[in-house]
């Protein structure tokens, strides 16, 4: 599908604003849009939002034979996909020129700069190495996908954990995720990019252009740097002529920006580690913003709770009235008295549950019914007519549902001895099995080599 053409008045408006050094979203010339980094529950999955531009990166790994020229180095592979989901101008199928250019840039920036230590990815020299693959998908295109993609790739690589491997002589053990904690990759530095867009024949520049600014710009300069002020890549496209001091100034601006961005990435990684340690929910579900599209300027809408009230009235009709009788006070001892006799415990789990719940409802002063109504109102944010309320379970917590708690066993001294022995043998068996598997695997190639 073709993208909406750029109208003359949009172009003129942006250029006019630029002449007075103003941007349409109120940013300054060197300001980045708001960067948001979120990690998924899986290791190596990262979503980066740069304003409205969204990019998803996923890192995965597998064992392969190394490249013939480099027998003791792992393989890094990067792939950036521009799908039509991001923008109607992107066509599915063959990669467009822009996509090819971006992929090349990614490789130059991340692979050639040796930010990930490939020697540590080697398992058996000449036979098995780790192939680490980073897939980056553009989810929404609002300008400057390149910067967002590089941030996402770096964050995902830093977040990723690969399975642990140990080599003892001839035997190689690959531990699954359950047996041993997976191991992070060795990352030397984080090369990040800054995009500069040029207007008015190179006299005006903007950092981090939005989609509209990208369509109007005359040329682009991309500077890839890490926080130690080491230049990793430099790319100018669009056919503008830049002066030497312009490029130097851009690289200086870039060093400041890269420092800030690295700080943001580190903070996001730390937050994620913290959240995982504390056992809090982590993942996209927590970090996705709740976007509600409320149609039309509606006033507060009332909820149709006639049905609920009707049922409540029915329930109330058949409910027992709370005892109005004066409770006898009996003295048990000095300073101790008892009022009433106490009720039957209604928290026993009975087979026919609805009945017990209704009894609980009847017992209180319409408290149960009020709870239902409250729930109904809470859910009706979007003004939905609730037709069925009787199926809803009031907030009764059932403790004995056999969830995480296993059966409790009390161990004696003898049992402890047995258990520990069993444990040891079990472990040995496991490792034996694993080692057996690995040994057979490695034997075959050796035979072939001979």
């Amino acid at each position: 599908m073709k993208e909406t053409p750029l109208s003359n008045c949009e172009r003129e408006f942006v250029l006019l604003a630029l002449r007075e050094k103003k941007r349409l979203d109120g940013r300054q010339t060197y300001d980045y849009r708001k960067v948001k980094i979120a990690f998924g529950t899986e290791y190596g999955c990262c979503v980066v939002e740069l304003g409205k531009t969204r990019v998803l990166a996923q890192v995965s790994c597998e064992l392969v034979s190394p490249k013939p020229g480099r027998p003791s180095e792992g393989v890094l592979f990067f792939n950036l996909e521009l799908s039509p989901m991001a923008s109607p101008g992107f066509e599915p199928g063959r990669q467009s020129e822009m996509a090819i250019e971006m992929n090349r840039l990614l490789e130059r920036c991340l692979r050639s700069s040796r930010c990930v230590d490939t020697e540590s990815l080697c398992v058996i020299s000449g036979e098995k190495v780790w192939h680490v693959r980073t897939d980056i998908h553009a989810l929404n295109h609002d300008g400057n996908i390149m910067d967002a993609a590089v941030i996402a790739a770096n964050a995902a690589l830093a977040h990723f954990r690969r399975p642990d491997v140990t080599v003892q002589g001839e035997e190689v053990t690959l531990y699954s995720v359950k047996d041993r904690d997976p191991v992070p990759l060795t990352i030397h530095h984080m090369p990040l990019t800054t995009t500069f867009s040029f207007f008015h024949e190179g006299s005006r520049l903007l950092v981090d252009p939005t989609r509209l600014e990208e369509r109007v710009m005359e040329g682009r300069l991309l500077v890839a740097m890490n926080k130690h002020r080491e230049l990793c890549a430099l790319q100018a496209s669009g056919g503008i002529r830049l002066l030497q001091d312009q490029v130097l100034r851009c690289s200086q601006v870039s060093s400041v920006k890269v420092l800030e961005l690295t700080e943001i990435i580190q903070r996001a990684l730390q937050n994620d580690v913290q959240a995982r340690k504390e056992g809090r929910c982590c993942g996209f579900a927590e970090s996705l913003p709740v976007q509600r599209v409320t149609v039309a300027c509606a006033h507060e809408a009332t909820v149709n709770n006639e049905e609920a009230l009707r049922r409540a009235n029915e329930v109330v009709k058949f409910a027992e009235e709370p005892a109005d009788v004066e409770q006898p006070v009996c003295h048990r001892g000095p300073h101790t008295a008892q009022v009433g006799d106490g009720l039957v415990n209604s928290w026993l789990v009975v087979d026919d549950e609805p009945k017990s719940e209704e009894e609980a409802l009847d017992g209180g002063d319409l408290e149960g019914v009020k709870v239902e109504n409250e729930e109904v109102e809470e859910l009706s944010d979007d003004s939905v007519i609730i037709l069925e309320t009787h199926n809803r379970v009031p907030r009764v917590v059932q403790l004995s549902d056999g969830s995480e708690e296993d059966e409790v066993m009390i161990l004696s001294g003898k049992d402890l001895m047995n258990v520990s022995n069993k444990g040891c043998t079990k472990k040995a068996n496991n490792s034996d099995d694993v080692m057996e598997v690995m040994v057979t695997k490695t034997k075959k190639p050796r035979k072939r080599n001979k």
């Binding site: 599209v293 300027c297 509606a298």
Partner: protein, 237 residues
């Protein structure tokens, strides 16, 4: 305050008093998003809020950004190509619309309209069905422009959702009122999700554009606070 009904596609419309039965003089008028299926029941085809206008007009307000052309609607188009006797205009749907040179006020074979590629035109849909290319005109049936025609090049164009544009066009829209208090400007709303605006200076135009873009999803009451936030963040503009 009436109850608000939300329908999902496929749900049948439940009307009180059996109004769904067709009796002469008591016909139902179904607007966008509702359809009568083979069995005779009225079924929703879009997800959204059911609206009603007395006595018997029903339609569904839904959220959509892609425009589907409908005859008689006024839309803002961008000229993409010029050929011998017509302009190709992009109105946001799958096909570019045709705009004849003669469909302007006072246009003759000798007197051609002065439109360039990339200019904006405010047009009305003459032909719009799924089998043909849509056709637009800049003149009404009497031959008068009536507000249609080229939009000047010193304004700004923003892209929003369709229901936001319809909201702007309701008579007495509070959004427009609060906007005019802050940054008075001239606004043209196209039903294809495009709004053109022009103000006397750069700043009110930019503020108005930013405000309109962000007002898509907020209620009327929150609009005033949004205004304050916006004018603060665009203070350095």
């Amino acid at each position: 305050m009436a109850n608000v009904v939300v329908l999902m596609p496929g749900e049948a419309l439940q009307l009180p008093n059996n109004e769904a039965l067709l009796t002469p003089g008591k016909e139902l008028v179904l607007g966008p998003g509702l359809r009568r299926d083979d069995g005779g029941t009225v079924v929703a085809t879009k997800a959204g809020v059911l609206r009603r206008r007395e006595p018997n007009v029903y339609w569904i307000d839904s959220h959509q950004k892609r425009y589907v052309p409908v005859r008689g609607e006024m839309v803002i188009g961008i000229v993409t190509a010029k050929s011998i006797d017509l302009f190709k205009v992009d109105i946001g749907c799958s096909e570019h619309a045709n705009l004849s040179y003669l469909a302007f006020e006072g246009a003759t074979k000798r007197n051609r309209p002065n439109l360039q590629v990339g200019d904006l035109v405010f047009t009305r849909l003459l032909v719009a069905n799924k089998d043909m290319e849509p056709e637009v005109v800049c003149v009404d049936s009497a031959g008068r422009a009536n507000g249609l025609g080229q939009l000047s090049g010193d304004g700004f164009l923003i892209h929003t959702s369709l229901e936001f544009c319809r909201r702007l066009l309701t008579p007495g829209c509070p959004l427009i009122a609060s906007l005019s208090a802050v940054c008075p400007c001239e606004i043209t709303v196209g039903l294809n999700g495009r709004v053109w605006l022009r103000a006397q200076a750069l700043r009110p135009a930019a503020v108005a554009a930013a405000l309109l873009e962000r007002s898509n999803c907020i209620e009327t009451e929150q609009m005033n606070s949004q205004l304050h936030n916006l004018t603060d963040c665009l203070a350095n503009f």
